[in-house]
């Protein structure tokens, strides 16, 4: 088992292994320390940080569904400076690979945050949350417009040599156009997908389950949809892709890697089982060893052995 190499290169970003914790599901990373040694996983992606702290939105903020959950947290966060002062030193001490997720309502704010992060020791990459479904201003507006996305990436690319990850929304857009635009603008890596917009109603109480009415839908119910998008994004762009969406088990991880994702992010599963990431890293090594593979790289994109060409969409017919 120890013979299996789990380290992966995701574009310019080298990871200890391909298991990352998704933004918004692992706090600022330190919250996970009781559950998994932070230097045993590929890395953590922080809760999306804004230039100034944000209190988030009113409750109820979360709701469970049979196949996942809805959330409308409203990007509550302590602000970038507080993260760098209060959280990052302890993360560095623990040997965590830290990807900082940032969110802004304007290009200027994005630029200011990237400037603040550039050259900071202990920051491995920046993930641009241009896809949060829960905030009206900014956020997803960048992520639904290819032109705005390309322009933003071009601005930020000029400010830093840190790997830039564009996190894409599956909502209200052609995710492939936006992905291509992000790459065109200078993104190193694409991560997809963020949550799907959804809603649910409590018919007995005659009201939506979320105070915000609509929110982001995540969990195992979205996995096949996310997997298809990741597969096609890899096929169409050839870019380094981080797969996200409904991963619960090592089999789910293996599926995303099989279709070409170079790493994955575990999200909603962390709520249900904070020990999942640590266990999945070991299970991944075991699976590869059992198949006689010596590196995870040998598994990534293995779908090319059995499927060629571009997928044809038959619709529902």
């Amino acid at each position: 088992m120890s013979a299996v190499t789990l380290s992966v290169d995701v574009g310019p970003l080298r990871l200890r292994n391909p298991i990352l914790l998704a933004s918004g599901t692992c706090g600022y990373g330190l919250e996970m320390a009781p559950w998994v040694p932070l230097d045993a996983i590929g890395g953590i992606v922080t809760k999306s940080l804004s230039l100034r702290p944000r209190p988030g939105g009113p409750p109820p903020r979360v709701a469970e569904l049979p196949t996942g959950m809805l959330n409308a947290i409203g990007l509550e966060n302590i602000g970038l400076d507080a993260f760098l002062e209060q959280k990052l030193p302890a993360l560095r001490e623990r040997g965590a690979t830290v990807i900082v997720s940032i969110f802004a309502e304007t290009e200027d704010e994005f630029v200011a945050m990237v400037d603040r992060l550039d050259g900071v020791e202990g920051v491995a990459a920046i993930e641009l949350n241009i896809s949060c479904p829960n905030v009206k201003a900014g956020g997803m507006e960048f992520g639904t417009s290819p032109a705005m996305t390309e322009r933003l990436l071009r601005l930020l690319r000029a400010r830093t040599r840190l790997p830039l990850i564009a996190k894409l929304t599956p909502n209200d857009t052609n995710v492939f156009d936006v992905g291509a635009a992000a790459l065109q603008g200078g993104a190193d890596i694409l991560s997809l997908v963020n949550t799907f917009l959804g809603m649910a109603v409590d018919v007995r109480r005659e009201r939506p389950l979320l105070a915000n009415v609509v929110g982001g839908y995540s969990g195992p119910g979205i996995k096949p949809i996310a997997l298809r998008m990741v597969y096609e994004m890899v096929r169409r762009t050839g870019a380094p892709v981080i797969g996200i969406g409904g991963i619960q088990t090592v089999e789910d991880v293996l599926e995303f890697l099989f279709v070409g994702a170079r790493a994955v992010q575990l999200g909603t599963v962390n709520f249900r089982d904070p020990t999942a990431a640590g266990r999945i890293v070991q299970e991944l090594a075991q699976f590869l060893a059992d198949r006689g593979l010596t590196s995870v790289g040998a598994w990534i994109g293995r779908i090319a052995r059995v499927v060629s060409g571009t997928p044809v969409h038959w619709g529902s017919g």
Partner: protein, 272 residues
């Protein structure tokens, strides 16, 4: 003393109904004891589902601990509590904890008031026992809709202190809701309290706090629940609006479950 948080396999050793759809569930950790757990702390219990079904864990206060068995007390309300309420002895679930902050210690030597609305009692029971053992005067008002929903009365009486009962329909104890009783029997409830702890449905807590605040300046702790995905501070789901400047939120899971009743912005909490 507070134990380090742990994810455990928990075996069901007993499960019975002790009231209308009120479940008394006894769990024992595999190969060991429960971590030291302070009154107020809770565990996230797995909802037993098939491998292909999704369910978040559910937060439950540790209600009681006897001879290594941890007891949980809840009502079958929805999917999760129905599934947990059908566990059979020998079956196992996973659970992690202890989570949340222990109840704030009262200052001063005055008596302590506990107000339980329905199964809010599940959370205050261990605190009642602890306070009595500390030699404090404990007055516990336990209110529910009907007599049959007042459970574990013998155990509560055995703890010592003063137990007052109330039912909406007057079938046992004083007649009326908890807040009505607090108003009507004001003379009984006007005491030099060191602190008051109120646990139950959010509307009940809010109504009780309003009455209590009209005649006492003692600290009042509201023990709240809220939809919660993780229990350990990362999902930010269980937000309670508080009247800070500027307004902000506290999380039931990591800042609570006991929050200062004066700080909670009751007008911004969802009504039931």
């Amino acid at each position: 003393m507070v134990g380090t948080v742990r994810d455990m396999r928990l075996f069901c050793v007993t499960r019975e109904d002790i009231g209308p759809d009120i479940v008394w569930l006894g769990l024992v950790p595999e190969g060991g004891d429960w971590p030291p757990t302070a009154p107020g702390q809770f565990y996230m219990l797995e909802v037993p589902t098939s491998e292909r079904c999704f369910a978040l864990r559910r937060p439950f206060s540790l209600h009681d601990l006897q001879d290594g068995v941890g007891y949980f007390l809840f009502r079958r309300m929805g999917f999760g509590t129905r599934r947990l309420g059908s566990l059979r002895p020998g079956e196992a679930i996973r659970g992690f904890g202890p989570l949340g902050r222990p109840f704030p210690e009262p200052t001063g030597d005055g008596p302590i008031g506990l107000i339980s609305g329905g199964l809010g009692m599940a959370t205050l029971y261990l605190w009642h026992r602890t306070l009595v053992r500390q030699g404090r005067g404990v007055y516990h008002l336990y209110a529910a809709r009907t007599a049959e929903q007042l459970v574990r009365l013998e155990a509560l009486k055995a703890l010592g202190g003063t137990l007052w009962l109330a039912t909406d329909d007057g079938s046992l104890g004083w007649a009326g809701r908890a807040d009505e009783v607090l108003r009507r029997y004001e003379a009984e409830f006007r005491r030099p309290w060191s602190a008051l702890y109120v646990c139950g449905p959010t509307v009940m807590i809010r109504a009780c706090v309003e009455v209590l605040r009209s005649y006492t300046e003692a600290p009042i702790w509201a023990i709240l629940e809220a939809p919660m995905a993780c229990g350990y501070g990362v999902c930010r789901g269980c937000a309670v609006p508080v009247r800070t400047n500027p307004p902000s939120y506290r999380m039931v899971c990591v800042d609570g479950p006991a929050l200062s009743a004066d700080e909670v912005d009751w007008s911004c909490l969802p009504s039931p």
